[in-house]
């Protein structure tokens, strides 16, 4: 399998990007993929490990060595089949996944990992281009009806699997368009929305019914669904953002990241913006929070023409390189520089916001203080460094500090599902059942904020659990 000495002969070669000056002028994708021959050569680096750590490192358990080998041998179509057998939406993960698989690639231990994500993306892109992606319409219908609430990656994966098992699936989405976080939370320059539309067509052909603008718990009483459906899967995400409760928080110009990003995505899609514009244009932008969402805010701000962009992180600056001996094959804590960072932004670490200062109800400055971190019996403890206060100018502040838990008002309250200690919907990964009979939960709504790939995994596993619940057993793969 594969080329036994490929990893010794071929160096890692990733996809390229359009130049910064060019790409920040638009909101479109700017990745320059490798040619097919280059992808095949990269796939030859896979070592066909006796224990493929990537396979476990990947939350959907992509069978990476198998499709790497198939790509190496030019057997793309079969590679696509193997890929689809674990992942409903490789075109999404192939673009926006942080690729824990590559962190756990055996080659990452002492060399450069295989470009797994690029290969995944190449397989599915080729699949669409060649017309190999077809709806898989169930031969038999079970007559069971399942409601899936929330059309993000978890909901869509769940819906697709259930439809393929022959169930009648209705997806409820509170927004005007289907796709949830995929459509609204991820900037177009990272994931263009036509990719989502293309996949939705497949789901629709497989029998999934989409109901946008249907806010369960608001427009639609959640309890009604209990009567109407044989099972309900809650996949509404973890949308309750973490706030920064410091003096001055009420000032104008301070927004949650997701509000900012969502607006821009709607703008790109040509949708009307009902509320006031949140724009970075000609402003000094401060992004609080050093994660991926923060990074998306950086890229979006730059494209909107911000005067300056600064990203702040409360945690200390991570090391440039992890200690592989102690981290591999796990996801390491290390300094990551995204394509957005490359487009021009300042980053600062170990910084806490003391208060927002403003004028005329608009934020003008942030008062900050430096922190010191130390290890206390395995726990990181911080103390403020006396006298280290400083100010930063700010015209727009974006809070990208993650999400606390799902929105509990409305649907969850109505249904009365139990919550776990973190405020997420309580359900185990063994059966995804909530405390309420025939109600299931998956994705961020169940596990808290996470990656798209985790949402897909949970959606798939939840679908199997629902199928088992409805039919007594299930042949759906997980």
């Amino acid at each position: 399998m594969g080329k036994p000495t490929g990893f010794l002969e071929i160096v890692r070669h990733e996809h390229g990007y359009a130049p910064v000056a060019e790409r920040i002028t638009h909101f479109r994708d700017f990745v320059a993929p490798l040619p097919e021959s280059g992808v095949r050569e990269q796939a030859a680096r896979c070592m066909d490990c006796g224990i493929p750590y990537c396979h476990r490192g990947c939350p959907v358990h992509n069978i990476i060595p198998d499709w790497n080998d198939l790509v190496y041998r030019g057997n793309w179509r079969q590679a696509l089949e193997v890929l689809h057998s674990t992942n409903n939406f490789p075109e999404f993960t192939g673009r926006i996944c942080p690729a824990p698989c590559e962190a756990s690639c055996t080659l990452n231990f002492n060399s450069q990992p295989v470009t797994i994500k690029d290969i995944e993306c190449a397989i599915i892109d080729k699949g669409w281009a060649e017309g190999w992606v077809q709806p898989q319409i169930a031969a038999h219908r079970t007559g069971k009806r399942v409601a899936v609430i929330g059309s993000g990656p978890a909901g869509l994966a769940c819906a697709q699997q259930l439809a393929r098992a022959g169930h009648t699936v209705v997806v409820f989405e509170k927004n005007p368009r289907i796709g949830g976080l995929l459509r609204y939370g991820i900037p177009d320059f990272k994931l263009e929305t036509w990719l989502i539309d293309r996949r939705l067509a497949q789901l629709q052909a497989e029998g999934v019914e989409f109901r946008p603008n249907s806010h369960v718990g608001a427009d639609i009483p959640a309890r009604n669904l209990l009567a109407e459906f044989d099972a309900i899967a809650l996949t509404g995400g973890a949308e309750h953002p973490r706030d920064l409760k410091v003096p001055g928080r009420e000032l104008g110009g301070i927004h949650f990241a997701m509000d900012f990003l969502t607006q821009q995505n709607r703008r790109v899609a040509g949708q009307k913006i009902l509320e006031a514009d949140i724009l970075a244009t000609d402003k000094d932008v401060i992004v609080i929070g050093g994660g991926d969402t923060g990074s998306d805010c950086v890229g979006t701000s730059i494209r909107q023409g911000a005067r300056s962009v600064t990203q702040l992180e409360i945690m200390p600056k991570p090391p440039a390189h992890e200690n592989k001996l102690l981290t591999w094959p796990d996801w390491p804590l290390k300094l990551r520089t995204s394509s957005s960072h490359e487009e021009g932004c300042e980053r600062d670490w170990s910084v806490a916001t003391k208060q927002f200062l403003g004028q005329d109800g608009q934020v003008t400055d942030l008062q900050l203080i430096r922190l010191e971190w130390r290890d206390d019996k395995g726990r990181q403890v911080m103390t403020e460094t006396p006298g280290s206060e400083f100010n930063l100018k700010a015209g727009l502040v974006l809070l990208a500090m993650g999400f606390v838990h799902p929105v509990q008002e409305g649907m969850l309250r109505d249904l009365g599902v139990g919550l776990d200690e973190r405020g997420n919907v309580a359900a185990s990964t063994a059966d995804y059942q909530t405390s309420v009979n025939k109600v299931f939960a998956a994705g961020d709504m169940r596990r808290g904020q996470s990656l798209v790939v985790w949402a897909i995994r949970e959606g798939r596993q939840c679908a199997r659990a629902v199928d088992e619940y409805l039919m007594g057993n299930s042949e759906l793969p997980t």
Binding site: M1, P4, T5, F7, L8, M47, D48, C49, G50, I51, P52, Y53, H55, R56, G57, H61, I63, P65, D66, R73, N75, E81, V82, S85, S104, T106, L107, F109, N110, S111, Q136, A139, H140, R164, L325, L326, T327, W328, P329, D330, E475, L476, P477
Partner: protein, 1549 residues
């Protein structure tokens, strides 16, 4: 059986597992002159073979000894007269030697029963004689079993016209009496046994030490007791339960060796019952059944079968040729008539295969024969007063040299026969030529033999469309791995695929996945008690020929002249072949009629319907045979959506056994047409349970569908042929692992054990197979089959487009469970690298907690913790426990220098032990490092390749481990490909860089248990301080082997589990051979305790140990010590790539690539942390269990329990009662290692040598002294060599510093590991293993001056001479036995003739043969050079040219120009040998011949030197091809280096 105190099977002890091997001998007066002398000499032979026997816990209880003599008429007549019995004329009466119960009442019944039978059969009972015995010499443990021994006298009745008829009748009476008594419940536990019952011979035997035989039976010392012959035997049993009736000789023979195919032979004998008719025996034949008492030893069973053949009219030699045929197939040297004889007889009976030296007699003829591979030693001599003395070794009787007229050996497949009535020796050629000419066998063959390939081509079926194919594959359990890792590679390469590392998936019975029934069987393999074979290098003894169809009547050897027989060259049938068989009826005069029987049944009957379907199938099969069809094809081609196929193996075994039981089996041929068989293991099982041929139709269809994916493209025919070839080779390999040479005897031999099958299920369908843990039955097997069928024809999305992923070979989430996963590997590595015990506990929890998924048997164990645990600080400290731990044997070569030394340094810092593995050790490691570390491995392994095993290596060990088997590939050798042999490795292994190295499957000095005892003795002599360990692999019966090992004086035994790792092995072996260590360890401990041997030997377990809990379970099941291989490697950085065999290990562990070695991340500290954590965990368990010391814990299986609530649908049926049985321990019986072995070194001749050589040892002063030597002086020179190696290393002393002149017959292993500086000059002769491991010394053996023999025509040294020799010189004035200079790495030898397999696996050195060689010379020879004098010009046919070229001497002309006068010879002899290995052949040869002449005075050497011009051209040079290439490469390199030097000089650098 009955005359034994061996307990019925209890716990894991099962008397069926006993093995034995022995010393045999006979003395005969050719002229049939009767006297007391042969008897006295026989007893003397026994006394002198003492070292070949064994002594158990009771020093006076040997394993049995006996003597067979001619009926001593005068003595008996006189004795009877005193009893008032008047004997009729000699020949008209017979004597039964009877062992009777001590209880007089029961004895009376037994006697009456015998008398009744005698009368009923029309003979006249004359009376009883009490045989005097003196039981003062019996062992304590034997006395309770001592029978009353009486002789019964019976007169020939009127219904027997002659002695032959009388003998037949006696046979019938004996059988009938045994049955009558044994079948009666009351007596079943009472001893009754007729040792002999004949008018010609008489047997005295018992559980007596060999030297005491004459003490126990005063008769034997009575001068009136006269015979012209005496056949004697001394037994070495693996077990110590005394068993009177299993002592040899039996009625006709005694045997040294082992019948590997016994189960199959017994089955086939049983199967023939209804097909046998005998004119001679007539109605009496029916009275003989059951012919073979179940549970008898292999030798007893052989004797039973032989007796039947003789009774039916076969002559003794004829019967022996039938049962133990020579390797006739593809032997170009065999006379065509003899070949025809063998080929004809092959259809009559399958060979009784295995290592065997059998001595036999009927009182009128006496002889001996050797198995086809010559695996047992047998030497004989003839005296000028017409005596022949044969024995396992020479020197057992003091015969004056001048009286000897011939000294020879029994050669492979050959027979020695003395006819006392004719008064002459009949040699092999004459007997066989006579028998071969007795009938027109070739004509008969021509008339009846049908070769499948000669039948007209039939049309084969076409492969179906992709979707149908997929469905079928799924229903028959195909996985993606089957196609990717087995079928496709086999189609491309024609080889069984290779992989690496060990198996870490659950046994089938614990798997959540539906497994094929093949997975529940494990291949058995040979270890210690019989040798595996090398099916590649020793192909000449192997045969895949199979006969399909009814068998001729065994008892009418001439009937087959009319019966047609269908022969296939190999048992794998192509589709067209199967069609030929299906329609054979229309082509061969209706001699064959084939019937195809479908093994499928309607799907709606479901899993529950399989039982009935099987019953129907068996009934139909029997009906078909009764109806007259004589080839039965069992077919699953009808499997489809509506029909489920019964697993083909189950159907085959069920039908095979049903036909055996109904006595119909030999009337029909059984052919299997199946979609199920795909891997080698599958075919082996089908064969093992009776398939005469197999057509794997779906495998062929699968390959056809894959054709387009092969690069470069393959034709369908090629793909199928390669696959068939790969499977065939694989089957040969599996057969050879058990030491079985022919498919015919493998077929039906059931060489498997069941792991996880219910006893009831086995008994019904796989009758006679062993299994110890119960498990699933038909219901579960059926359920698995139905599950697969549903997957295939159901709608599951996963299986719509693709096969199941498999996941057995590489971890896959959807596949099989593995112990080593991304999670467990990374947890362990992070734990040891960060020294974090909490992290380690997470690791061990992940390994140990098997509630969700079972992974191994111990996952089902629970502890019975103490009610009150003891405080942790009261538990034995870690510093003590650590001494029990070791790393596994991994060679430098298989793993990198970095990995190897990391393990060694870590273990040395800890005070534990590391293991060199096979492949020597760089002496630089004997010197401590600057920081105080030591990279010396405490355990030095001695494996079959003997690479780098020098005296120096041996003395630098704390422990010497003899590797009999390896968990991942028991029964196999190994191979280090040339590209992995770099300069460094070559230096350590004493070989040539770039030349591949082969380790043979067997140790060529261990073909049986007493050979192992000899090697242990050799090693102990060389290094008396080292503990000697023997490494075995878990399989049923390993406990009895271990008992034998303990009796062979090993200090230590390792039981490896099947999960053990490897650097490269066929997948077939990694996956399917050996059993879990839990089973093997428990059996070993229980057997050792029962035998009172446990205290003498330390028991180590390894092969898949991973946590502290594993150690504790190992201890509770009986282990003192523990080995960690894979886990230690993982701690050092291994990530289980399973790429060791490809040299591409990306973490530098298992590779020699310098760039990859740089990536090695391991540090000794990591390994130390692992072991520290393990011990901590052990101590925690000990505290909870309430054990303060480790010793208390050993063997306490009562503290283990099987988990109560087992919900797993398959595991539910398991029963660990036998596994967890605790053997009773009377006071004083040890249950852990706490005693010392007595190695018997005190009597070694070397003590005297050492004393006399003191000036040389202390001050390098030359010494010369003389000594007598005899056959019981074994391993002479080794202890002295050890002393030299300790002081002077491998360099030793200057040449000839110690010169020892010896006179007499040297015992085995003369000059073993002889160090440089010693010369042993022996006048006399030597036995086997001369110069084993020769480490620089010189050995000279010549006949004594008084000998009148032409030395070059007589044998001077025995078998396997210079095995593993490293350096030094040997000069033998005479002929050597088989396997001369096997695995020679660098020594020089001159000999005047050699047996089969000379220079096999040789990698270096020079061998000169001044005479004939046997067959298969230079097989597997990869280095060194040999020169053979080919006077008759037929050497070409004797050499195995697979790896060598035969050439003339390349500098012949030059030497012809420089004639040498005798006065120049001494100078010539002193000159150095030319170094350049590529040239100077004649020069080198002439020097060696001159040396030979000067050392031995050899006549042929003188002739050659004198007439060099005439003789030199007759020499053939044998040059290994790889070696030549490597030497040329080296020359190029040296040349290039010189040029560079010159260039440097030129530019003035």
């Amino acid at each position: 059986m009955r005359l034994t105190c061996s307990p019925p099977s209890q716990g894991l002890y099962d008397p069926r597992n006993e093995h034995d091997a022995c010393g045999i001998g006979f003395v005969v007066d050719i002229k049939n002159r009767k006297s007391h002398q042969p008897i006295r000499q026989g007893l003397e032979i026994l006394a002198n073979l003492g070292h070949r026997g064994a002594v158990g816990a009771d020093p006076l209880a040997g394993d049995g000894a006996g003597i067979l003599i001619q009926l001593p008429d005068a003595f008996l007549r006189a004795e009877c007269a005193t009893l008032g019995i008047e004997l009729p004329a000699f020949g008209d009466y017979a004597v039964a030697m009877v062992f009777l119960p001590r209880d007089s009442l029961v004895r009376g019944h037994s006697e009456a029963a015998l008398q009744r039978t005698v009368a009923a059969e029309g003979q006249i009972f004359l009376g009883w004689r009490d045989v005097p015995t003196d039981n003062s010499c019996l062992g304590r443990s034997v006395r309770p079993t001592e029978p009353v021994i009486r002789q019964a006298f019976v007169q020939r009745g009127p219904n027997c016209p002659d002695t032959a008829a009388f003998e037949r009748k006696l046979f019938v009476i004996r059988k009938q009496t045994h049955h009558a008594i044994w079948d009666r419940e009351l007596l079943s536990r009472q001893p009754f046994y007729i040792a002999s019952f004949s008018s010609r011979t008489l047997v005295y035997k018992g559980m007596i030490l060999a030297r005491n035989l004459g003490v126990y039976y005063p008769d034997l010392r009575d001068e009136r007791l006269e015979s012209a012959l005496a056949l004697v035997h001394q037994r070495f049993s693996t077990n110590t339960f005394p068993s009177w009736e299993l002592a040899h000789p039996f009625r006709y023979l005694c045997h040294n060796g082992e019948i590997n195919t016994l189960r199959g032979n017994i089955n086939w004998m049983l199967a023939r019952r209804h097909n046998m008719r005998s004119e001679q025996l007539g109605a009496d034949l029916e009275k003989l059944w059951p012919l073979i008492g179940d549970g008898a030893s292999d030798s007893a069973t052989f004797d039973n079968a032989l007796e039947l053949l003789l009774a039916a009219g076969y002559s003794l030699p004829h019967a022996m040729m039938l049962m133990v045929p020579e390797a006739w197939s593809d032997n170009p040297l065999m006379d065509p008539k003899r070949r025809a004889f063998y080929e004809y007889h092959a259809a009559l009976m399958e060979p009784w295969d295995g290592p065997a030296a059998i001595a036999f007699t009927d009182g009128r003829q006496i002889g001996a024969t050797l198995d086809r591979n010559g695996l047992r030693p047998a030497r004989y001599l003839v005296t000028d007063d017409d005596q022949v003395i044969m024995a396992s070794e020479m020197g057992v009787l003091p015969i004056p040299e001048e009286k000897i007229v011939k000294k020879w050996r029994l050669q492979p497949g050959k027979m020695l026969l003395i006819d006392l009535e004719q008064g002459r020796i009949i040699d092999d050629d004459e007997i066989k030529a006579q028998l071969a000419a007795a009938q027109p066998y070739q004509n008969w063959l021509d008339a009846t033999q049908i070769h499948l390939k000669d039948l007209p081509t039939e049309i084969g079926p076409m492969a179906p469309d992709q979707e149908t194919l997929l469905r079928r594959q799924q229903a028959f359990g195909y996985t993606q791995e089957d196609v990717r890792a087995f079928l496709n590679p086999m189609a491309v390469t024609g080889e069984d695929p290779i992989s690496s590392m060990g198996r870490d998936i659950p046994p089938a019975v614990l798997s959540d996945r539906p497994k094929l029934i093949y997975d529940y069987f494990k291949q058995k393999f040979a270890q210690v008690t019989n040798p595996p074979i090398d099916p590649i290098r020793e192909e000449l003894v192997m045969s895949l020929v199979s006969f399909i169809g009814p068998r001729p009547n065994l008892l009418d050897p001439y009937s087959a002249g009319t019966q047609k027989r269908l022969e296939v060259k190999r048992p794998i049938l192509a589709n067209v072949d199967l069609e030929r068989i299906r329609r054979i009826e229309y082509h061969v005069d209706r001699a064959f009629r084939t019937h195809t029987l479908s093994i499928c049944y309607p799907v709606e009957r479901g899993a529950d319907g399989m039982g009935r379907a099987l019953d129907d199938l068996c009934r139909e099969a029997a009906d078909v045979v009764r109806h007259g069809d004589n080839i039965l094809i069992l077919s699953d081609r009808d499997m489809d959506a509506d029909h489920i196929a019964i697993p083909a193996l189950l159907a085959t075994a069920a039908v095979h056994h049903h036909l055996i039981r109904t006595g119909l089996r030999t009337e029909v041929g059984l052919v299997i047409e199946t979609g199920e068989a795909k891997r080698v293991h599958d075919f082996c099982l089908l064969a093992g349970y009776g398939a005469e041929a197999i057509n794997p139709w779906l495998a062929f269809d699968t390959l056809t569908a894959s054709l387009s994916s092969f690069v470069p493209p393959l034709s369908e025919a090629d793909a199928h042929e390669h696959y068939t070839k790969a499977i065939s080779k694989g089957i040969l390999k599996v057969m050879s692992k058990m030491g079985i040479s022919t498919y015919q005897s493998y077929c039906g031999a059931q060489i498997f054990e069941a792991v996880g099958l219910a006893e009831e299920f086995i008994t019904r369908y796989f009758t006679g197979t062993q299994g110890v843990i119960e498990g699933i039955g038909l219901q579960e097997v059926a359920r698995e089959t139905v599950t697969r069928h549903k997957q295939a024809f159901g709608d599951a999305p996963l299986y719509r487009e693709a096969l199941d992923i498999g996941g057995e070979l590489a971890f896959r989430i959807r596949g099989e469970q593995h112990a080593w996963t991304p999670e467990t590997v990374s947890l362990l590595q992070h734990a040891v690298r960060s020294a974090d015990y909490r992290q380690f506990k997470r690791y061990s929890r992940a390994m140990n907690d098997q509630r969700d998924h079972l992974r191994n048997l111990r996952g089902l164990f629970e502890f019975r913790f103490a009610n009150t645990p003891i405080p942790l600080d009261e538990v034995e400290p870690a510093s003590e426990i650590v001494k029990r731990l070791a790393t596994g044997a991994m060679s430098f070569g298989s793993i990198s220098w970095e990995a190897h030394t990391t393990l060694a340094i870590a273990m040395n810092r800890l005070g534990a032990k590391s293991n060199t593995g096979e492949g020597g050790e760089d002496p630089v490691r004997y010197i401590p490092l600057d920081n105080g570390d030591s990279a010396r491995s405490a355990i030095k392994q001695v494996a079959s390749g003997r690479f780098g095993v020098t005296a120096e290596y041996l003395v630098n060990a704390d422990s010497l481990q003899i590797k009999m088997a390896q968990g991942a590939k028991p029964g196999e050798g190994g191979q280090l490909p040339g590209h992995k042999v770099n300069d460094w490795i070559a230096r350590v292994r004493h070989s040539t860089p770039g030349v591949g190295l082969i380790s043979p499957p067997p140790h060529h000095d261990i073909y049986s248990i007493e050979d192992l005892a000899q090697l242990i003795f050799d090693l102990k002599n060389t290094n008396p301080k080292a503990a000697i360990s023997v490494k075995l692999v878990s399989e049923i019966g390993v406990g009895t082997v271990a008992a034998g090992v303990a009796k062979a004086h090993a200090d230590h035994v390792t039981i490896s589990g099947e999960d053990g790792g490897t650097g490269a092995s066929p997948l077939t072996s990694i996956q399917n051979a050996g059993s879990p260590w839990e089973i093997g360890l428990a059996e070993t401990h229980q057997t050792l305790v029962r035998n009172h041997l446990r205290g003498r030997i330390a028991v180590q377990v390894d092969g898949g140990l991973r946590t502290g809990r594993d150690i504790v379970i190992g201890a509770l099941l009986g282990a003192d010590e523990f080995g960690f291989g894979t886990a230690a490697l993982i701690a050092a950085g291994c990530v289980m790539m399973r790429k060791c065999h490809l040299n591409t290990c990306p973490v530098g562990v298992a590779t020699q690539d310098p760039e990859l070695r740089n990536r090695f991340p391991g540090q000794p500290a990591h390994v130390i942390n692992l072991f520290t954590f393990l011990i901590e965990e052990v101590r925690e368990f000990m505290a909870r269990l309430g054990f303060r010391t480790f010793d208390e814990m050993i063997g306490r299986a009562d503290r283990l329990d099987m988990r109560r609530a087992i919900h797993h649908w398959k595991a539910r049926g398991l029963d660990f009662t036998r596994l967890l049985a605790v053997p009773p321990t009377p006071p004083g019986v040890a249950t852990y290692h706490c005693e010392e072995q007595d190695h018997g070194l005190s009597g070694a001749l070397d003590h005297q040598f050492i004393a006399q050589a003191q000036p040389a040892l202390d001050a390098r002063q030359p010494v010369r002294f003389a000594s007598m030597i005899r056959n019981s002086d074994r391993t002479a020179g080794a202890m002295l060599s050890g002393q030299i190696a300790r002081r002077y290393g491998h360099a030793g002393l200057p040449d000839d510093t110690i010169h020892i002149d010896l006179n007499g017959t040297a015992g085995q292993s003369f000059g073993a590991f002889l160090a440089r500086g010693i010369t042993l000059e022996l006048r006399g002769q030597a036995n086997d293993y001369v110069g084993k491991g020769l480490s620089g010394g010189r050995i000279i053996v010549c006949p004594p001056p008084e000998s009148r023999l032409r030395a070059e025509d007589n044998i001077i040294v025995g078998n396997t001479v210079m095995y593993g020799a490293i350096a030094g010189e040997c000069y033998f004035r005479g002929v050597a036995g088989e396997r001369f200079a096997v695995r020679n790495s660098g020594a020089i030898a001159v000999v005047e003739g050699a047996g089969d397999h000379g220079c096999e696996y040789m990698t270096g050195g020079v061998v000169v043969v001044l005479g004939r060689t046997g067959r298969n010379f230079a097989a597997g020879m990869s280095g060194g050079v040999a020169y053979v004098l080919d006077e008759e010009g037929d050497f070409d046919r004797r050499a195995n040219k697979a790896m060598v070229a035969l050439e003339p001497l390349n500098d012949l002309e030059e030497t012809l120009k420089t004639p040498m006068l005798p006065e120049h010879w001494p100078d010539l002899a002193k000159s150095a040998l030319p170094e350049d290995g590529l040239g100077h052949d004649a020069q080198r040869l002439r020097i060696l011949v001159a040396r030979h002449y000067l050392h031995t005075g050899s006549e042929p050497a003188r002739r050659i030197l004198e007439q060099w011009r005439e003789w030199a051209p007759k020499f053939v040079k044998i040059m290994p091809l790889d070696y030549r290439r490597a030497l040329q490469d080296m020359q190029v390199k040296i040349h290039a280096a010189r040029l560079e030097e010159k260039a440097d000089v030129a530019v003035g650098v």
